[in-house]
Amino acid sequence: MAEFRMPSLGADMDEGTVLEWRVAPGDTVHRGQIVALVETEKADIEVEVFTDGVVQELVVPVGQKVPVGTVLALIAEPGAEAAAAVAAPPPPAPAQAPSPAVTPAGRAHPPVRSPLVRHLAEERHLDLEAVSGSGPGGTVTRDDVERAAARSPRRPKISPRARRLAAEGQPAPTATPQRAESRAPGVAMRQAVGRVMAKAKREIPHYYLSMPIDLRAALDWLDARNANRSVADRVLPTALLLHAVAQAVRQHPAMNGTFDAATERHVPSERVDLAVAIALRDGGLIAPVIPDAGSLDLDGVMEALKGLVGRARRSGLRGSDLSPGSLTVTSLGDASPGSAGVAQLFPVITPPQVAAVGIGAIREQPWAVDGLLGVHPVVWISLSADHRVSDGRDGARFLATLDDLLTHPDQLGA
């Protein structure tokens, strides 16, 4: 019997709440299949299961906050005498649903909604919160959903996250164009970020190095490469920079991996699992991971990046996107209206990682080549590193490798 446990979905996460089960006892599941939607302080994450099998029991109900590692469901793996042992599907809701109960924490349980009803509501594009339940305790039944669907025109779905922000008193996104500063991150997100950053500053002795890099050759090379591609296949400078960082880190393992505080030792990583800091549209910061970025080619990095940014922005990040990173890259490269963009950025390392790379805006600047002054697109790349693991000289060598790769882009592959 396989135990499906609450995964750790970020350095800051200690507990999570199952918002929705996407499977029911008796369902067959496959490795990589999304089985639940879990709420963390930062975001609602779609969580995958990593075994094949048949769901036996959903141990933790919707709405209950549990620590990371708690068994959420039991899955009988193929070969076990599973199918026959599955309990009969629960009796229809009206026969068994209790009236809303009060949990020890003092909050009422939301009315029981089976995964089936949730699925149905989703298919019919209905907001389940707005459907009145005719079952005991306000339970929403299948019939309730079908009736509501027949009545109402197609309505937009309200994500659990939007609902939560509304509950916290944050303004809902309005119809007018917004500027970044008018969207405030939710309180929970702010606290989650703050806790990790405070811990990082308390525990990790950071040192900081920075280097300007001439991107004339790299951008010309990229433009030529993109010229005959459609917009869908374009590779952005950000992807090129991430790819270069991943390749450089492979040559400098002291910038990669984790630090074990108990043994006071660096734990190197064989792979470069590149966490990319992404700003969410309604505020807040999350750093999903490009797994094994070091073995991807440039197009692979771009694809992975598009996937992560797309999912992050749509509140559709998956558990596998939040597996631990071995290094984080933050870019404030895009200029905002009226500004050329931040020149240098000195990131805070995400524990238990041992380094972080910051990428500033690419700016046209005076640059000397062979004694002559020209104007080149220059980017300042910074390294924040853990002084328990490396020294300035190690960091300097890493930046020198990165500089070499970016000024000779043919090294970065076709």
Partner: protein, 87 residues
């Protein structure tokens, strides 16, 4: 069910593409010559996603070198109404 290939105006297509990235975006208040990235606080990845969706929805292939022409509402209207002809 509506025929998904029925002709839609450039404004409708753009609104659809924008809506997937910035659900709060409202084209009706936008100056046609204002850069969309500024009007809706879109970064380079966002703009790329919008153009990619626009390409998909309109059926008009947009080579990367043409991307700057589609940076405003006016530009999108012009490009989709008279797409460059193939040689």
């Amino acid at each position: 069910m509506t025929d998904p290939t029925a002709a839609r105006t450039p404004d409708e297509l753009l609104a659809d593409a924008l809506g997937r990235i910035a659900p709060e975006a409202d084209l009706s208040n936008v100056d046609p010559d204002e850069p969309l990235a500024e009007a809706f606080d879109l970064d380079s990845m966002d703009m790329m996603a919008v153009l990619e969706t626009l390409q998909e929805l309109s059926g008009v292939r947009i080579p990367d070198r043409d991307a700057p022409k589609l940076s405003t509402l006016a530009g999108v209207r012009a490009y989709l109404t008279h797409p460059p002809s193939r040689g």
